[in-house]
Every structure is written in C-alpha cells, then in structure tokens.
Amino acid sequence: MQFETMSEFITMDGHGLYVWLSYGIGVSIIVGNLVLPLFKRKELMKSLARRLRRENNTQ
Amino acid sequence: MAELCTNSAESSMRKLFSAVLKRDLLLSFRRKSDLVNPLIFFVMVATLFPLGVSPEPNFLAEVAPGVVWVAALLATLLSLDGIFRSDYEDGTLEQVILSPQPLMVVCLAKVIAHWMTTGLPLALMSPLLGVMLFLPATAMLGMVMSLLIGTLVLSLVGAIGAGLTVGLKRGGVLISLLVLPLYIPVLIFGSGAVQAAVAGLPLEGYLALLGAMLALGMVLAPFAISASVRISVSG
C-alpha cells in the first residue's frame, strides 16, 4: 500500500482529479461494453419472440 | 474475333486502358464544369485563410504550405464522388463489370483520368496560390512537384472510397469520412516537402517518400478499387 490514509489515497498528491476521472471513464466504458450487448440481447429476444408468435398466428 | 485472339494480352490491355482514359477525358472536356469547379474551389479555400485569420505576409508565408495542401486535398475530395457516380447511374458501370476485360485496368484508367482533370491542373495552378499567400519563389518548384505526386495518391486512395459509396444515395459526406483519415500521411509529407522547400532544405527525401506511397498505391489501390466497385454494383 502506497498510501497511509484514505484522504491521501483520494487526493493522490493533487493528482486525484485526473486519476479518478480517467479511472471513472475507463470503468464506465468497460461496464458499458458489457452491459449494452446484454440489454440488446434481451430486446432482440423479445422482438424475435413476438415475431415468432405473429408468424405462428398467421399460419 | 480472330485478330483479337492473336493480339497479345498486353497490347489489348493497353488498348483498353487508353480507350477508357480517352473516354473519361472526353467526358470531362465536354462538361467543362467538372474541370473548372475543383479549381475554383481550390482558389476560394485558399482565399478564406487570409480573410479568416490574418492577411499579414509573414504569417501567410508560414502557413502557406499547409493551406495549399489542405485546399488541394479538399478540392480532390469534392471531385471524388464523380469518378464512378455517373457511370453507375446510367448503367455503364455494370457493363464494365460484365466485360471480360480486367476491371482493375478500367479502374486504374479512370483514376488516371480523374487525376489528369483535377490533380494535374491543381498542381499547375498552385503557384498562383503560392503568390497570393507570399510563398517564397524558391519553394514553388517543390510545391508543384509534391502536388503532382501527392494528388495522384489522393486520387488512387479516394477512388476506393468513391467505389464503396457509389451505390448509396447520399455518398458525398460518407466519402470524406472514409477517405480523410487515409489522406493524412500524404498531407503530412506533401506539406512537409513544401516547408522544406521554403527552408531551402533538400527535397529529395520527401519526394521519395511520396513516390513510395504512390508506388504502393499504384500496386494495391486498383485491387481495392475494383473490389469495391464490384461490391457496390452487385448490391
């Protein structure tokens, strides 16, 4: 552990803003890349299921 | 048929190349606006800089290499859409694809014709812009030379984008999106050559680099252009 206290860890010798900002952006892009496809899958499944029902009804 | 078969493949290629080249040149000379519009655009863009930034001679002389090159690049970009568009719309492009002749030769001939009607006049007219932007007289030759080689690379690379977007209704903006990033090396070395000419440094290195890009483009671009045209027409 390079830091003695929590506040030291957060301020990072004055570079806290930059470090935390970039980690925030990085993590949100990573999470976004995992969550978005999952949402899209849900939507896709729903619309395809609807479509399948429609086709079964018309036949 | 008999005399066609006895002809060697090479001379038939040459005949095809010159026929396509001749036709495209003829077409641009019949429609003068194709020929003149990029040139007017070239001059207008270069005029915007003194008006928009500063008419101060020292400043202008400093930015002149970049301005001339950016203007030439944009002028080429504007004219790209026309390489295949009209042929696509009137159905001659599909006839080219259906001919037993190699599409690559036809594409290369069309690109050369495009360069001869845009890049070549741009390069020849650039000293006028150089004077307007207070570029030292010693740099003129370097500028013309770099533009002569560079605009041909621009036409080759741009034709790939033109081929990819020719089947789309609104290909104009998309072309710039596809092609501009690929133009950056040419811009860097082209304007670098002019800057070197301004500073009185030797030019050969820059021209050799541009020439290397041209050689690479001449070898590889026809493949990509013919592939992209085929894809667009088959859709």
Partner: protein, 251 residues
C-alpha cells in the same frame, strides 16, 4: 469450399453460426470471470500498490488504463480487418459478424485511450490536448473506426455492407503503419524534445507487473464483449433458421 482443403476442419466448423454460438456460450463464463478478476485486481494494484513515478507522481497511475486500451484498440482493428478478409475470401458469415462486432468495441476503446491520454496530459504537459504522436495516431485510428461504422450504417444490404466494410478496414490496415510512421515523423519535426507519456527507460518490475495484469485483463474483457455482441449478431442474422426459432421458443 473447394480449393481450400488445406484449412483445418475446425476452421469451417467455426464458420457454422450454430457451432460458433454454442462454443462461445461455453467459453463466455470462463472469460467473464477471468476478465472481472484480472481487471479488478489490476485496477486495485495500479491505484493502491504500484509505486508512484519519480517524475510524474501519482498521475502516472493513469498509464495502467491508457496503455492497455491503446494496445487493445490497435489489436481490435487488426482483428476486424483480418476477420473481414476471411469473410471476403472464404465467404464465411461468422467472420463478417466478428468484424461487425469489433467496430463499436474498438471505437469505444480508442475513445478510452484518447480520454485517458488527454487527462494524463493535463498534469504532465499542463494542457488537455497535445499533438503527441501516440495520441494523434490514436485519434486517426478512431476516425478509421468511425468510417467503418458509418459505412455499416449507410448500407441496408447486410452482405454488401460486410464486404464493403471489409475492403475499407483492409485498406485501413495497410495504412495504419504508414499513418503511424508519418505522424511520428511529423511530431518529431514539430515538437522536438518533449518527454512522451510512456516511453520510460526500464520500468521497475513492480511498475510493469500490474500493467501486464491489466493488459491481459483487457484482452479477456474484449473477448467477453466481442462474444456477447457476436452472439447477438448470430441470433439476429440467423433468425429464420430452425435452431434459433427453437432457442427463442424455449425461452
């Protein structure tokens, strides 16, 4: 597929969307766990345990995001172009789908590399943006990604869009070394002797070990994201085949 018998069998098995869907389904959990573990461990290590840089202090910790994302953005482009070429040459649909799935991931990773680079630049150079060679070529890489994505978006016909985008990404792949070289050269000409972000003489081991963890973690994360998108794409394009209908009906 006559004339390509020299290719191993799994290559063509992979070409079957169904087989590909099944195998990615089996691989996903493992990669997911690995990605989470490695990235979390890497982030904690990088933030709390890695020693600060003697010149840049704690802002140096941004490197643990910037460098892996820059590497990943480039590999992703390469994968996109190679997958596109495979799709173009052997007419393998799955390869086209891989290429299609690569584009948005690669673009977002390139954005990440640019954003972290810019933020890192502020304490290091004193400004948010510097025309540094690495950042500039990353920006151009982002433009290349955007061109590919715009081309996909502009074409309605899927197989045509896939072919066109493959040609474009291959052209871009040939261009990337030229762009990199020219930008580096241009940068040294215009900005002599500024110190660059990452080129350090011999990083100590406790500094680059977390970096290694992060790089591997990023690759795992990329595989997970790619597989998720690929599976969506397989389902969407194969929606009329029997097995997808069964799959949907069983849900």
């Amino acid at each position: 597929m006559a004339g390509s018998s020299w290719l191993p069998r799994w290559f063509f098995q992979l070409a079957s969307p169904r087989w590909c869907y099944d195998i990615t389904g089996k691989l996903l959990p493992g990669f997911f766990v690995a990605a989470i573990l490695l990235v979390v461990a890497g982030v904690v290590w990088a933030l709390a345990f890695a020693p600060p840089d003697y010149q840049q202090g704690n802002s140096f910790r941004i490197m643990y995001l910037h460098v892996p994302s820059a590497i990943l953005a480039q590999s992703c482009y390469m994968l996109m172009a190679v997958a596109g070429a495979v799709g173009l040459i052997w007419k393998i649909k799955v390869a086209d789908m891989v290429a299609y799935a690569c584009a948005p991931i690669g673009a977002s990773i390139a954005v990440m590399a640019l954003a972290t680079g810019a933020i890192w630049g502020k304490p290091t150079w004193g400004s948010w943006w510097v025309w540094d060679a690495r950042l500039t070529s990353m920006l151009i890489l982002l433009f290349l990604y955007m061109g590919v994505m715009a081309l996909y978006a502009a074409m309605d016909n899927e197989s045509m869009a896939a072919k066109a985008a493959s040609v474009l990404s291959l052209v871009g792949l040939v261009n990337i070394p030229i762009i990199k070289y020219s930008v580096e050269w241009w940068n040294t000409l215009h900005q002599p002797a500024t110190f660059t972000l990452t080129e350090k003489p011999a990083m100590p081991i406790e500094m680059w070990l977390p970096l290694l963890v992060m790089v591997i973690g990023f690759y795992c994360f990329f595989s997970v994201s790619l597989m998720l998108r690929l599976r969506n794409e397989i389902i969407r394009r194969e929606r009329r085949s029997g097995w997808v209908r069964e799959l949907i009906a069983s849900k």
